[in-house]
């Protein structure tokens, strides 16, 4: 076994135990960032010892004992309350007595503690970037190096981000707390936002990039499953899981052999993962049973579900999708949602109805530089036979498109509209 193999094997064992280690230490120390530090130190201790001693027969018990010793050392150094001291010593003795019994490692119900951990890592006081890095580190057990690779950033940047985030938590007195009552739902949305950010980061990763980027989708799905199992009464947790499962179900159909993206309506639906779709529909069903049909994640999932359930692009239930977008627009009040609604209405009722919505959005400041607005507008105008205006709209869209591929596509559509405009003057009805 090479040193790298041994390293990977140890990391693997540690990762299985990591959620239990960090939650146990957090409970002992009443400090999540500190628990995270000591959990990492425990990994380092294993990496130092196990290559020479071999992996112990009960690696989980070894890691837990080592982690708790470090916690105790820390408390001793910090001259913590004597009573707490005794409690921990007692706790450790008891643990040591049971240590021969692997079952003890399974007895802790880490659900509540894990939930606290997630809420702490995703505290709204932290920036989105910091929350994302902390969540991947503390909940998924990814190393700093892995997070850096997944986000295409230098390791030092991620490392600093994590250190600073943990300091912020400690200094703001947020190192160990669980939101309750009304605060809970606000805090939950911060958690769900982080999970969805991680999912989208992986989802937009191009084919052939470092495998860790697409892997982020799986990390997000995993966190989604954690949330639905430990906060099972929260409808939006199920809604988000549904949205992620339904989006991920198209993974195999989203790009062609050259890695070029394929639009959803042009995808080969035989490649959509029906089992994953079923899991997504189950999660959406659960969100609805819990009274969460109107939540923003559940509504987005419901829209994707309409696509997932359509056998062909032509079977898509556009009026239903338009209805969901209208509901979603009332919840999140976003002009981008309204633009999406315009597309759905255009499919359901025809380009005129869609254009009427888009024309109301033209003066929307938030969409001033958004290339999809003139692009959608151009599409409606083209379908209405207003080719010159369509050409101008596609030109405007091309000028705003930041992505080379999209720029080229819009230029092609502008040229096509201009061609049709001139040929339709010469020979009406030629098409």
């Amino acid at each position: 076994m090479t040193a790298a193999d041994a390293h990977r094997a140890i990391l693997a064992v540690w990762r299985i135990e990591q959620p239990r280690l960090i939650t146990s230490l957090a409970r002992l120390l009443r400090d999540v960032p500190l628990a995270e530090d000591l959990t990492q130190e425990t990994l380092l201790a294993a990496l130092e010892r196990w290559p020479s001693t071999g992996v112990p027969e009960k690696p989980g018990a070894w890691l837990m004992a080592t982690a708790k010793h470090r916690a105790l050392d820390h408390l001793r150094r910090g001259r913590m309350l004597e009573r707490k001291h005794q409690l921990i010593a007692w706790d450790m003795e008891e643990e040591q007595q049971d240590m021969s019994d692997l079952d003890c490692s399974l007895d802790d119900d880490i659900g509540d503690e894990l939930l606290r951990l997630i809420f702490t890592a995703c505290h709204p006081r932290l920036s989105r970037e910091a929350r994302t890095a902390l969540a991947l580190r503390m909940i998924c057990g990814l190393t700093t190096e892995e997070i850096a690779r997944a986000f295409l950033q230098p390791e030092a940047t991620i490392s600093q981000r994590i250190v600073r985030a943990k300091r912020t938590l400690s200094e703001s007195g947020l190192a160990y707390e669980t939101p309750r009552g009304e605060e809970l739902s606000e805090r939950l949305s911060s958690v769900l936002e982080v999970v969805y950010l991680i999912f989208n980061e992986g989802y937009t990763a191009a084919l052939g990039q470092d495998w860790l980027r697409p892997q982020l989708c799986n990390e997000a799905l995993r966190m989604g499953r954690v949330l639905t199992s430990i906060a099972s009464h929260e409808p939006e947790a199920h809604g988000l899981l549904a949205l992620m499962e339904l989006n991920a179900s198209r993974a195999a159909a989203r790009t062609d052999a050259a890695g070029e993206p394929i639009l959803m309506l042009d995808q080969n639906r035989a490649l959509w993962d029906q089992i994953q779709i079923r899991r997504g529909m189950q999660a959406l069903g659960r969100a609805r049973e819990l009274g969460g049909a109107g939540g923003s994640y559940a509504l987005q999932a419901a829209i994707i579900a309409c696509h997932a359930e359509a056998g062909t692009a032509g079977d898509t239930d556009w009026p239903r999708i338009a209805g969901f977008y209208a509901e979603l627009g009332a919840v999140v009040r976003s002009p981008i949602v309204e633009l999406n609604r315009a597309v759905a209405v255009g499919m359901a009722e025809g380009p005129e109805a869609g254009l009427a919505i888009v024309d109301r959005l033209v003066r929307e400041p938030a969409l001033k530089t958004y290339h999809l607005l003139p692009s959608v507008r151009g599409d409606f105008l083209y379908r209405l036979g207003r080719y010159e205006e369509a050409g101008a709209a596609f030109e405007a869209a091309a000028a705003l498109a930041g992505n080379q591929r999209e720029h080229a596509l819009l230029k092609r559509r502008a040229a096509e509209a201009a061609d049709t405009a001139s040929s339709s003057v010469r020979a009406p009805g030629a098409f």
Binding site: R15, P19, Q215, I230, Q276
Partner: protein
């Protein structure tokens, strides 16, 4: 990466209550950690059936099957980072059998899904 764990044994031996309890706890922990996607134990092979193609002929056979050696007793599907993690996880699972079902012998085979899996 998704993995399927397949547990096989030549000894038909009912799991002890202690083993069942420990496996239940382990499964619970793994589900809460978001790692276990699915699992299940299977009824004895004698109660099953086999549909075979031999020499281009399709036939249906009911159990019991005399030639069966290692019989699949159960399976689980995991989402994990690496094969090393799958091995560590399977070692933990088999350790439970060693501790709570003395005398039992068997194999936990772990296989990564091709093309992402279910």
């Amino acid at each position: 990466m998704k993995f399927m764990f397949i547990v096989k044994s030549a000894h038909a031996m009912a799991p002890s209550p202690a083993l069942l309890e420990a496996m239940h706890k382990l499964a619970n922990r793994e589900i809460k950690a978001g790692r276990m996607l699915d699992n299940g134990g299977l009824t004895p092979i004698a109660e099953g059936a086999q549909v075979r193609i031999i020499d281009g002929k399709l036939s249906v056979l009911d159990g019991p099957f005399v030639e069966a050696k290692e019989v699949i007793g159960g399976y689980a599907v995991f989402e994990l980072h690496s094969k090393e993690e799958a091995v560590a996880s399977a070692v933990e699972f088999m350790q439970l059998h060693k501790d709570f079902l003395p005398g039992w012998e068997g194999t936990c085979e772990l296989r990564a899904f091709a093309a992402g899996g279910p």
